[in-house]
């Protein structure tokens, strides 16, 4: 029964990891940008939410309504300035710039907010409430909500990219930037929109993790970025639903590892990631070889 519990918990945390991963996947899919500051930006979103809640005393969950647009605007601005000018130079420069950004953000948070961990909405009943399945399986409502949010975000992205006008523009620009430009699309603006979307999901990821666990300046890299990346690679690069599958596989691997020995939790996830890298480098869902 303990194993069933581990698997159920793993599947649910997989939703959280998919939420971590979809922004990373989107930025790479559209702009070919691997944003090494991805996780640190999620932590920034969490800290912004904490700041808003502390200053305005608004209900915890309502702060999402503020944080997501704020991060989306930041995403658009960063893409149009820093990331675009790095992209105009080379892939190497883009990596160096986002890595620099990651280190600057992480140490900035450390400097201004100390290394203390902070949780979002620690007094909410949503955080502690759970329901039982059978005698040994306790499921937290929060994890179910996060899983649902992840599925809704992925469905929404899928719908947006396939059906909306901007979605078509984004796909056109991702496929062939020059051709889209010739057809009258301003690819820089479209990149900005895609970055805004990605940063919106990054904000949700940071907020969700802040509620699920604790945020600290180093959470951005040692948890969010690395788990997001592992989920993306396990699931298959460039596939949104693969991302969910990757998140679930990572979550289950971690929970099974934790079941064996609590200190194996993170390691077990990485070992599964490495196994996928060796046995199926194109990921679980992707059929085409990765280049």
């Amino acid at each position: 029964m303990a194993w069933v519990n581990a698997i159920i918990q793993g599947v649910l945390t997989g939703g959280l990891y998919a939420l971590f991963a979809c922004g990373l996947s989107l930025m790479f899919g559209v702009m070919k940008v691997v944003n090494l500051a991805h996780g640190d930006l999620a932590v920034v979103a969490g800290y912004v939410a904490l700041g808003i809640i502390a200053v305005t005393h608004m209900p915890v969950l309502w702060s999402v309504v503020v944080v997501v647009p704020v991060m989306a605007a930041l995403g658009y601005a960063l893409q149009r300035t820093l990331i675009q000018s790095a992209l105009d130079r080379s892939v190497l420069i883009t990596l160096l710039v986002t890595f620099g950004l990651s280190v600057v953000i992480e140490n900035g948070l450390l400097q201004f907010f100390s290394a203390n961990t902070r949780g979002i909405g620690v007094n909410l009943s949503l955080i502690t409430a759970s329901f039982s399945l059978g005698s040994q399986v306790q499921i937290a409502y929060l994890l179910v909500v996060i899983f649902a949010v992840a599925v809704i975000v992925l469905l929404g992205l899928q719908y947006f990219l396939s059906a909306s006008r901007y979605g078509r523009l984004i796909r056109a620009v991702a496929d062939d930037r020059e051709a889209a430009q010739l057809a009258g699309a301003d690819y820089r603006h479209v990149f900005g929109i895609a970055a805004a979307l990605a940063f919106g999901t990054v904000a949700l990821a940071g907020f969700a993790y802040g509620m699920y666990s604790q945020l600290a300046p180093t959470t951005g890299t040692d948890t969010i970025l690395l788990f997001a990346f592992a989920a993306v690679v396990i699931g298959g690069l460039g596939s949104l639903w693969g991302t969910l599958l990757g998140g679930v596989v990572l979550g289950v691997a971690q929970q099974i590892g934790a079941q064996i020995n609590i200190s194996y939790e993170v390691l077990a996830g990485y070992l599964v990631f490495l196994a996928v890298l060796v046995l199926r480098p194109q990921g679980l869902t992707s059929r085409r070889a990765q280049t």
Partner: protein
Amino acid sequence: MSQVTQTLAPPVLDFRVTRSRRNVAWTGAVALAIVAVLAYFPYIFYPGTTAIMVQAFIVLTMASMWNLLAGYAGLVSVGQQAFVGLGAYFVLYLALHGTSPFWALPVAVVGCAVAGLPLWWLVSRLRSGYFAIATWVLAATIMLIIERFPSLGSGTGMPLPGFAGYNVALLTADTYWAGLAVTVASLLVIYLLLRSRLGLVLTAIRDDEVAARSSGARVALARMLVFVVAAAGCGAAGALLAIDQLQVQPSAVFSVQRTAEMAFATIIGGIGTIEGPIIGTAVFIVLQQELAPYNAWYLIILGLVAIGVALFAPRGLWGLADDRLNVRLFPVGYWLRFTPERTISQGAETRRQRMH
């Protein structure tokens, strides 16, 4: 008949392919002199100064290796702390089993090179940005595995044994000389590598990977070799770090901050030149010393400077200087040197004589 061929003959251009615009002999002599002076430092400076120099040696070794990876082979690794950590732990392990840490250092270098092979096999499946994060995951994984060993101090690490009865002044001096030796060896290895066939292959890959592949350049082999050399070099830096700090702590040696240090020093100094990391390391150490009382500020400032340099002066400080001076301290490229007109006519003269 002879007249016609004379007029139709292409203009004679005499040129020589050289490594440098200027004579390299004197740069070699200067380099030797600098190393000799540096080797004399422990006799004339306080241990405080040589301690800072040891830090500079560690950063320079790491930065030069990272530069070889990112600047020459196009492999942006953000997981080089894996090898820094492995190097430190090799020294710790050997010291716990009775080897002198200084003798453990070369073993750590070999160990890291050997470890680099399977790790390359793992991460080489991914490209550019995803390669970068994969190396990071690898470093995190190795740290988590090492933390499972209570005999190596688990998650908290342990002090480095093996220096009982060592004279403190002698230890400081020996550490300094070990650092100098590691740095000189690293720079020499990189210099010779880049002057060899491998350097030519790497330049070809950098300019046009597809063309390089189709001309028969063994791209994968070249990259693997670079990765293994960088693994060994970062391992040496990690071993030095352990000896310098007299303790090994997993969260410190496996910190991504190690990669931040090497990357920032390289970018600021000038990526893709051997001279760049040297300049960058000097800037790094000065900033670090000046901003030491302000905790994390030195990394914030270095990060901002590195972003600015990457965007607006991608060839770094050395690139800015090079535009004006045209000097190569480590000539690894090629120059076409045209001989003056006088020699051209002389060359034509001899040709004509041969024809008769």
